[in-house]
């Protein structure tokens, strides 16, 4: 086995472990921390079902963001929706035989990569051009966008310009899953793509990417507005 294959494989095992352990610890922390008082931002749903629907609207449509800033909403939604479809498309590397619906997504999601990168570009432009957003940005906020643009850009280049050996890559990925390594094609673009992805996995649990699990735990969005009807007690405050 080449050094490259071993190093990239090792890195991915480490990244996966970091991501899983880190995220689990965060989710457990959120779940265990008490919410002693009722603080839904009202008007809020008065039933559990209503809260689930509110959450679905937040996660799928970015409802609150839509209220606040149409441009951020547009670019943010393009980016996330694109990302989502791209990830679904990627499942073809991880499944053998490829699941039927994953095969269906392939052609349907052909432009998702563009959507993702265009969205990112829009968000980045806003971060640089709008004085208020520039003021609140730390270097890490720019780097995060650079990282994602790097992943998306290298992916698009592989897809449309310098193709890689996807059959060999799939063998490598399945090898990773089955703990039985096969060689990784030594394509610079692919290696860059994968290194950046590993990097994303490492920083996920220690960065603002925690907004993804966080949104589900936000008391202002996930609490039912029923304090008079039902006494809210969570033990110690």
């Amino acid at each position: 086995m080449s050094i490259l294959t071993t190093v990239v494989a090792g890195l991915f095992y480490l990244a996966t472990a970091t991501l899983l352990v880190g995220l689990t610890r965060k989710v457990v922390q959120y779940a265990r921390t008490p919410a002693p008082l009722k603080i839904p931002t009202t008007p809020a749903p008065v039933t559990r079902t209503g809260v689930v629907l509110r959450m679905v609207r937040e996660v799928v449509l970015f409802e609150s963001l839509f209220k606040s800033s149409k441009w951020t909403w547009l670019f943010g939604w393009l980016f996330h929706f694109g990302l989502f479809v791209v990830l679904l498309r990627h499942l073809r590397y991880f499944t053998e035989p490829v699941w039927g619906w994953v095969a269906l997504v392939q052609s349907a999601g052909i432009y998702a990569g563009y959507a993702m990168v265009i969205g990112l570009a829009g968000l980045w432009a806003r971060r640089v051009l709008v004085d208020r957003v520039r003021y609140i940005s730390a270097p890490s906020d720019h780097l995060m966008l650079a990282l994602l643009v790097g992943i998306g850009g290298s992916g698009l280049l592989m897809k449309y310009v310098w193709h890689t050996d996807v059959v060999a890559l799939k063998a490598f990925v399945l090898g990773l899953l089955r703990l039985d390594l096969s060689p990784l094609p030594a394509d610079p673009l692919l290696v860059i793509h994968l290194l950046l992805v590993a990097c994303l996995m490492f920083i996920f649990p220690v960065s603002k990417l925690l907004h993804a699990p966080g949104v589900f735990f936000s008391p202002t969005r996930n609490q039912v507005d029923n304090p008079r009807e039902r006494r809210h007690v969570t033990g110690e405050a």
Partner: protein, 499 residues
């Protein structure tokens, strides 16, 4: 003519705009620090403690472990900027640290430095910073430039509520001996005397007697203002401002007339002569509970069946959202009524039952608009359906006024702008902030004055009413524009005839 001031009064433009950043524009704004006398009764150190740094970090750790909101909010913000133009203090002052996310970042940078891996090892990368004396001072300045109005939380994709962070910030400041005089002194007065004004029982009794005479003179009807009346059905808890001055006291007269006309036996309590609860503002659950407990005690002692809360925004949030948790359960009250109930809910029910008759022409000299108070709008509800807090007060007003118009859509309901004086900032040492923070509300008020000839703005919060009477004149508007919702009700209500 507008009142003169020592600072620049913001200019009202034809189209509301988001100002360009002016760094440090409000860095000088800082309320008086609490003296030991104000701190100690609340269980806080009298002055800045020697080891403030370690204690502050320890307190922060404790709060992160006790409030899921704080923990999640510290982590989740993606700096998307959606909230940056939503705060009335930013819109009115242009100081970037008054953008909600920047206000949060004052704490988040310390959180990252001491509680996260990235901030420990790469502080420059993620904007983490040590807790220095300057940072502590900055906290003091800018956590007292937030009225905890929750407008930002409506627009944040994760519902990050800067109010929660401001409260945590103030709680930490209190715990190292750097409290705010205004709020802490008032809480001390409630503990000592029973209300924010420091009005003792004999003075209160006197005031109420005076009101009985006044109403008798005006209407020739014996409307009572009972105090500590054993066996009454309803305990009314209202902000003590209602006992004191216009425009508040006219609201109290309105409640009394309603009860009189509906034949409801009610009483005030000298032990619980205050609905306001500044424990909320300083983020101290312990003090909030202690203030609220007086109401439970009074209700049990007087043997009432219902508790009704008068016109006060944050008091209603505390009553509606927290009382059941902090001082409940209310199993000793009549289950046929919500516990607690808002005075507008009570009035609205009576209107629907046909128990009240109004002579709307009495208010024909007014074109009325309505200011949604932030805590009622975004931190509570009325009635049984979401948004009842917007519908019910408007229905009550429309039942007694012929001329009612609403202000611009984005500035009412859940998008309402704070009056600029909420959250423990209603003090003269913060006057500049209050005047500037009122800009967005004044702007939309100006629009309806221009377009519909609005003459009065009704409000149902003691803080809003006090704040507007103080700051409207700076914008060339009359302080007497401000009326209590129940002032309108009281003026239109037909007394005496069978209802």
């Amino acid at each position: 003519m507008a009142v003169k001031a020592e600072f620049d009064i913001p200019v009202i433009t034809n189209v509301p705009r988001t100002p360009a950043l002016r760094e440090g524009a409000m860095a000088h704004s800082r309320p008086f620090v609490a003296k030991p006398d104000h701190q100690e009764p609340l269980g806080f150190p009298g002055e800045l403690v020697e080891d403030w740094h370690d204690r502050a970090i320890a307190k922060m750790g404790e709060l992160l472990g006790s409030y899921r909101s704080l923990q999640v909010f510290m982590d989740a913000c993606v700096k998307c900027g959606a909230c940056t133009d939503k705060c009335h203090y930013y819109l009115g002052t242009a100081d970037p640290k008054n953008m909600p996310v920047a206000r949060q970042d004052l704490m988040r940078k310390v959180y990252r430095r001491y509680f996260t891996w990235a901030g420990k090892y790469f502080p420059w990368l993620v904007g983490a910073a040590d807790l220095t004396e300057e940072v502590l001072e900055e906290w003091y300045a800018y956590y007292h430039q937030c009225s905890e109005c929750r407008r930002c939380s409506v627009y944040c994709p994760y519902g990050i509520d800067t109010a929660e962070i401001t409260m945590a910030g103030r709680e930490i400041l209190d715990s190292v001996g750097m409290g705010q005089k205004y709020s802490n002194e008032i809480i001390g007065k409630v503990f000592r005397i029973g209300n924010n004004l420091g009005l003792p029982e004999p003075a209160l009794a006197d005031t109420l007697e005076g009101l009985e005479e006044e109403v008798k003179e005006e209407t020739d009807v014996d409307v009572r203002f009972p105090l500590d009346e054993q066996g009454a059905d309803v305990l009314l808890v209202t902000p003590s401002a209602d006992f004191f001055a216009e425009p508040h006291v006219d609201g109290l007269i309105g409640y009394a007339k309603i009860f009189h006309q509906a034949g409801i036996r009610w009483t005030l309590s000298s032990h619980a002569s205050e609905a306001a609860n500044f424990g909320l503002f300083i983020g101290s659950q312990g003090n909030m509970q202690r203030v609220a407990l007086r109401i439970r005690e009074a209700a049990m002692e007087l043997g009432v069946k219902r508790i009704i809360v008068g016109e006060c925004g944050h008091a209603w949030r505390v009553a509606y959202s927290y009382w059941n948790t902090l001082i409940g359960p209310f199993d000793f009250l009549d289950p046929d009524y919500p516990a607690p109930q808002h005075i507008c809910e009570a009035t609205y029910d009576l209107i629907r039952q046909g128990a009240l008759r109004f002579n709307k022409e009495n208010n024909d000299d007014k074109v009325v608009t309505f200011h949604d108070s932030c805590n009622v709008s975004r931190g509570s509800r009325m009635g049984s359906m979401p948004g009842g807090q917007f519908i019910i007060p408007r229905e009550v007003i429309k039942a007694c006024c012929n001329h009612f118009v609403d202000m611009r859509q984005e500035t009412i309901h859940e998008g309402t702008f704070c009056c600029g004086g909420g959250g423990g900032l209603l003090t003269d040492d913060l006057l500049e902030l209050r005047v500037k923070g009122a800009l967005p509300r004044v702007q939309s008020l100006g629009e309806v004055i221009e377009e519909y000839g609005v003459t009065h703005m009704a409000a149902m919060c003691a803080i809003c009413k006090s704040q507007f009477t103080k700051v409207l004149p700076y914008y060339g508007m009359g302080m007497d524009m401000v009326v209590s919702v129940h002032h309108l009700v009281g003026d239109a209500l037909e007394l005496g005839t069978d209802g």
